[in-house]
Symmetry: C2
Subunit: 407 residues, 2 copies
């Protein structure tokens, strides 16, 4: 009888709570505000078709052969150039050396690689409150102690951060249109956070999958641009081109790049060279400058529809008696909060009965999850579905309210 002995870390690994929750929502006809999926309308299919043909015609042997672990040179150069250009436009020059850019198999892999080289069992890792659950899941196999830092109106609560910074391996944060809350760290918040991190010596791991998806004005410059030697920056092509190619990148300082590269080589040798060339080919000639505005316009219209539907269906009274929500300035998600005494996990099956799904917010907190919170994605459903879905949510809330009143 074979003796399979699992590593201790395997006990720290769990199925995604959210995936488990979502199983109840997998019914035909459900309008889903639950997923984190980009709208397929934004996938540049014709451009990918042309890129496939061009890449396989120009250098099939190069595209299909083993390649360097760092990634495809021209793509690393594009990434470095674009980051520098965007940071300069946001008022903080950032000279990114292509040698500091590594292409990863989605930005999720960046989380895994950083965890491998920076987290020992028991290491303290700081996260926002709430935070991206997929990051915590990437960190857990390395057995950290994940500690939440409070948030204030500008972003991370600096006093709380300073109280918790000593000995922490890094702060993980998502400053732009965060998953799950849709909130954005202000310029003042970034400036204060960067100063506090430098004062305490705390490395920052900045995750920015949504930063390009701003609706009215670009977000303030990245944290990493303010102190490049003190941060690791993670980026993604999933939201501006397509997630199904699994293409992301890391920008890392010299202090950690070589170890990240060794971790990358051990993890999957390199990310698919074919996909790296497709992305490079599609991006040539400033394609994103033309394409991303169309995504922004689409998502902004859908956010507006959701805001309008929420206002229409949920009249505002006292905060504790009403559903409340924020107004995300970009990205894919809106964060809402139920009236006092309600629990989003209990609401979910009632919502599914009415034909709409969302994700409860509590699992996104490393500790003390707020059971009243929920995440609403506005990018996958159409405007019409958004209106119908929010109306269904209002009905579910009524049912829930009545059931609570009876109990």
């Amino acid at each position: 009888m074979t003796q399979w002995t699992l590593a201790a870390r395997a006990a720290k690994m769990n199925p995604s709570v959210i995936r488990e929750i979502l199983k109840v929502t997998e019914r035909p006809g459900i309008i889903s505000f639950a997923g984190g999926l980009p709208s397929p309308k934004t996938f540049p299919v014709a451009e990918f078709e042309a890129a496939c043909a061009a890449v396989l015609k120009d250098d099939p042997a190069g595209a299909l052969q083993y390649a360097a672990s760092e990634g495809y040179g021209p793509l690393r150069e594009m990434v470095a150039h674009d980051l520098g250009r965007q940071a300069a436009a946001a008022g903080t020059p950032w000279k990114v050396d292509p040698a500091q850019v590594m292409i990863t198999t989605g930005s999720q892999q960046g989380l895994d690689l950083v965890a491998k080289i920076l987290i020992d069992a028991g290491s303290r890792v700081l996260v926002e409150s709430p935070t991206y659950l997929g990051a915590v899941m990437a960190f857990m196999p390395m057995e950290p102690e994940v500690v939440s830092v409070e948030n204030d109106a500008n972003g991370v609560d600096i006093a709380d951060l300073k109280a918790k910074a000593a000995g922490a391996r890094f702060l993980y944060c998502l400053p732009n249109f965060q998953n799950p809350t849709g909130r954005t760290m202000s310029e003042a918040g970034r400036s204060a956070l960067s100063a506090a991190a430098q004062a305490t010596g705390l490395p920052i791991m900045e995750d920015n999958p949504y930063g390009d998806l701003w609706f009215d004005t670009p977000p303030p410059a990245p944290l990493t641009a303010r102190n490049p030697d003190g941060g690791i920056y993670l980026g993604s092509f999933s939201k501006v081109l397509a997630p199904g190619l699994r293409m992301g990148f890391i920008v890392a300082p010299k202090a950690v790049f070589p170890k990240l590269l060794q971790a990358k080589q051990a993890a999957d040798l390199h990310s698919p060279g074919f996909n790296q060339r497709l992305i490079t080919q599609v991006m040539q000639g400033g394609f994103l400058d033309r394409h991303v505005p169309t995504i922004r316009a689409l998502y902004k219209a859908q956010r507006d529809a959701m805001l309008q539907a929420l206002s229409h269906n949920f009249p505002q009274g006292e905060a504790d008696d009403s559903l409340t929500w924020n107004t995300p300035a970009g990205g894919m998600f809106l964060w809402a909060r139920l009236p006092k005494g309600m629990n989003a996990v209990d609401l979910l099956p009632l919502a599914v009965d009415q034909g709409v799904a969302f994700v409860p917010g509590a699992p996104f907190y490393a500790a003390h999850g707020d059971p009243r919170t929920l995440r609403l994605s506005f990018v996958t459903p159409s405007v019409d579905e958004i209106h119908r879905g929010v109306a269904a949510l209002a009905k579910a809330l009524d049912v829930y309210r009545h059931s609570l009143a009876k109990a």
Copy 2:
């Protein structure tokens, strides 16, 4: 000043010794027997072109969207079916359930995922002697004690295995046309190993990237087919289609599949769905049954050229006075051994001076590397280059021999 503190495991991670060695060989005009690169002549470029067009036409949204961590259903079914068919043809029925198949980002990722869920710091892991270096590099971040098991004519030395099996987390082995030696485990060797593993409860991690590349007869049935609940099987599309898509797979028993899946989700969410569909599309209608024989024929002709060139350039005397080599029955590599008193690392720069490169064998051993060994790949250079390269190697050996005689 930012305080970057590396995890203890980062100290166990090192640049590939072989990549470092190969840097000296990166000169234009060098004939390289060093790389482990499939011949680009074998990449089915036209089929990939057609598959790209078909996949993007038939279901672009599906191909470009986020997808299940397990992998694309039709590909998992194809893998399960093909493994079952091959094992049955080799005389050992193996019913592979598609639910036990997980698609990975190259088989290298399979090594990383298995290491994560089965290795604690200090866990003993058994490997062949020598073994695939990339596997050891994937294991090292989890801080195992890697222990070599001796080999005999049939494969793993069973007595040595039994002496070392107690408490080991698994035996990693590569039974077909092994990297680096090109050797193949015999039917008797597999039968004995499988029995010994079952008797001692030792899990087997069977890596089979080269198994389809047999020259005259298919290799014996996989170890995992003999005891599916006792083994994890790793496969790859890199050698039969193309490495640049980074597509591999794991077949794992129920005892470990769920944890492997959680590790996969945390590592990169899923392997590129686009690439999974390309592979599926290309493989439809039995393409590999027509394509793989052409790879076998090409590599066999190149192996024959190398054997012929070796015989021509290296007359055989006493084993300790002559270069000796094996006759691989498939795969990509041939294993050679220098005369007594010589060291392949010292020979390498002399060979490069003559215009030929190879990989010294010592780094492939977990312990007590044999400094006289070297790995010669016969798949990337042409037949003409093989003849010229082996002649150059003979010249280098003469120079080396004279320098030793003088010293």
